[in-house]
């Protein structure tokens, strides 16, 4: 009996590290899906009648749509080892700009475009400030923009909310496409979900397959290497922060659509939720590491937490505690992974 045990365990000391190392890239890439699957199982076990209904699932996606937009932009900044603290304020500014423009009687196509455009411009200012004014860290420039954009949002609105937007402007945030009946349920596909999926697919192609996307990773990995390879780091960084601002503007448009209004204190603290999603999704704060799928997973994990706790009538304060815990655990797992995965 002991003999058979020995032969069974004999190859283990040699094979186990190899297997572990080979598993790492797979877990790196798809581990977040595993987390989502386990969380869904738990939530399903707790609320079998509600959790897996289409209505609830669609709801999760509707609620996470704004964070999805902010997180993918934030991901670009974090990939370059930077940060964009201004996305919450830029979201509010974009939202306010379009709501005020609408109240002033501008045509809806202008109102619709104004949100993303305002975000784009704020992001461009961030990018130029970080590179051309040679700010010591993107933290500084975007912290400045956090205050400036918030102040501007209050200034143009007089600090009061504006309600009532035309349907075309609300389309991205609140429209649903009726797909048919499934069992007793009406299947409505939220447009916000389609937008989220389309944006994430576009960013995946951008980051994995375009020259610019790969250069963003390279700058995150080693900016000096990128520079001496003839890559114009400043130009890439300006594009990164401009895109980040653009996504914040989109977030503003979607939130305006969902709430049918613009309110100047929208998105307070949203930058931190976006950062949390990116980090839970496995991106490295030191730049160069992380995937679009991971970010999407991070957003969904946060959505599941708040959805699950809401369904189970747990205090919203517990959500904060839980999200905080998950950030720490996610980064700790990453630290462990690096110890095994890299040489040196």
């Amino acid at each position: 009996m002991t003999a058979s045990n020995d032969t069974a365990s004999e190859p283990a000391p040699q094979d186990r590290p190899g297997l572990r190392v080979r598993l790492i890239p797979v877990l790196d890439r798809y581990g977040i899906l595993l987390v989502i699957f386990v969380m869904s199982l738990v939530l399903y076990a707790l609320q079998p009648e509600v959790f897996l209904t289409w209505r609830n699932v669609a709801n999760i996606f509707k609620q996470t749509a704004v964070n999805s937009m902010l997180a993918i932009g934030m991901f670009l900044a974090i990939l370059t080892a930077g940060i964009d603290l201004s996305v919450g304020s830029v979201l509010a500014l974009a939202m306010m700009a379009l709501a005020v423009a609408n109240a002033d009687g501008w045509a809806w196509p202008v109102v619709l475009l104004l949100g993303p455009l305002v975000g784009l411009m704020a992001g461009f200012v961030n990018g130029v400030g970080i590179t051309k004014l040679r700010m010591p860290h993107p933290f500084i420039m975007t912290l400045g923009m956090l205050f400036m954009a918030r102040g501007l949002a209050n200034l143009i609105s007089g600090g009061v909310p504006y309600t009532g937007l035309p349907d075309p402007v609300r389309f991205l945030g609140s429209a649903q496409i009726y797909l048919g009946e499934w069992g007793a349920e009406r299947i409505n596909l939220p447009v916000a979900l389609i937008v989220t999926v389309a944006v994430y697919c576009a960013f995946w192609v951008f980051l994995e397959h375009t020259v610019l996307g790969r250069r963003i990773y390279a700058i995150g990995g080693n900016p000096q290497a990128a520079r001496v390879s003839g890559i114009s780091v400043d130009r890439v960084l300006i594009i990164v922060y401009t895109l980040c601002g653009l996504m914040a503007g989109f977030g503003g448009l979607i939130m305006a659509g969902r709430t049918n209004s613009g309110f100047p204190n929208a998105g307070v603290g949203a930058e931190l939720e976006a950062i949390a999603a990116v980090i839970i999704g496995g991106a490295s704060f030191f730049g160069g590491r992380g995937t679009v799928l991971g970010v999407f997973g991070g957003v969904i994990v946060m959505g599941l937490i708040s959805n699950g706790l809401n369904l189970n009538n747990v205090s919203v304060f517990w959500q904060q505690i839980l999200i905080g815990l998950i950030i720490v655990i996610a980064v700790f797992l990453d630290v462990l992974r690096r110890q095994v995965g890299t040489r040196r």
Binding site: H209, R214, N222, A225, V228, S229, G230, G288, T342
Partner: protein, 297 residues
Amino acid sequence: MIVIKIGHHVATALASKRSMWGDLEGGVHLTIAAPTGDRSPALEQPILEAHGITKYFGAVTALRGVDFALYRNEVVGVVGDNGAGKSTLMKILSGLYAPSQGQLLFEGRPVRFHSPRDARNLGIEMVYQDLALAENMNIAENIFLGREPRRRFRLVDHRASREQAQQHLDNLRIHVKSVEQKVGELSGGQRQAVAIARATAFKAKVVIMDEPTAALAVKEVGKVLDLIKGLKQRGIGVVLISHRMDDIFYVCDRVMALFHGANFAEAPLKQTSRSQVIGWIMGTKESPGELAYDRVQ
């Protein structure tokens, strides 16, 4: 008649300072010695030259009127103590810094580099001391960093990148498990090999290396040095900065010393010795009691 026997590159340097020699013209006969071996000096033009390079960093003078020349199929060792100006000179040659004064010539033509990209376009590549690799990216992507093979719409042709990288590594006889391995997973010697592969991936004519063996395990040093010899056989001019006399005397054809930011001494390798070169580094030309085993061959 005065006969001065000097290296060819010095002659070219002097030719550019004609006024200095004007009053001696006709009286001076320059016997130009080929830099290495038996090449005809008349046909040989330095691939890369620098004349009177001076570089200031604020109040600090890093280089003072330095002359430099490099020929095809040649490995030049540049030695000097820390702060002698070796790295600054190399960064000027590779386009990272612009000289405060002085002139660069590439294949005989004056050139001015605004960025490393300008130098790279001419075929001057630098392998940096800190390697300048992106550890989060794979070997193929690092080799083509900044010059990615493309398809339509500025998409990266990942397949061409992999295949060309593999082929290039095979040419250089560099073995890696896979070109899709992340550089962060490689050993120091393998990283150095990738850095050299990157420098030579696009018809390089000059490769400048800053301490390529400094961070390597002993058994990896030989491989990298042989790689450098291989470059020379492919017709590439190599500039090698090194503190290690073993490296210099293994791969170089000529050695040049900088001291306090100025040219101090230089000689074909066959006409010097380790102790003499070490003397140069310390700023002395006095014959330091030569030992028989210091002599190469």
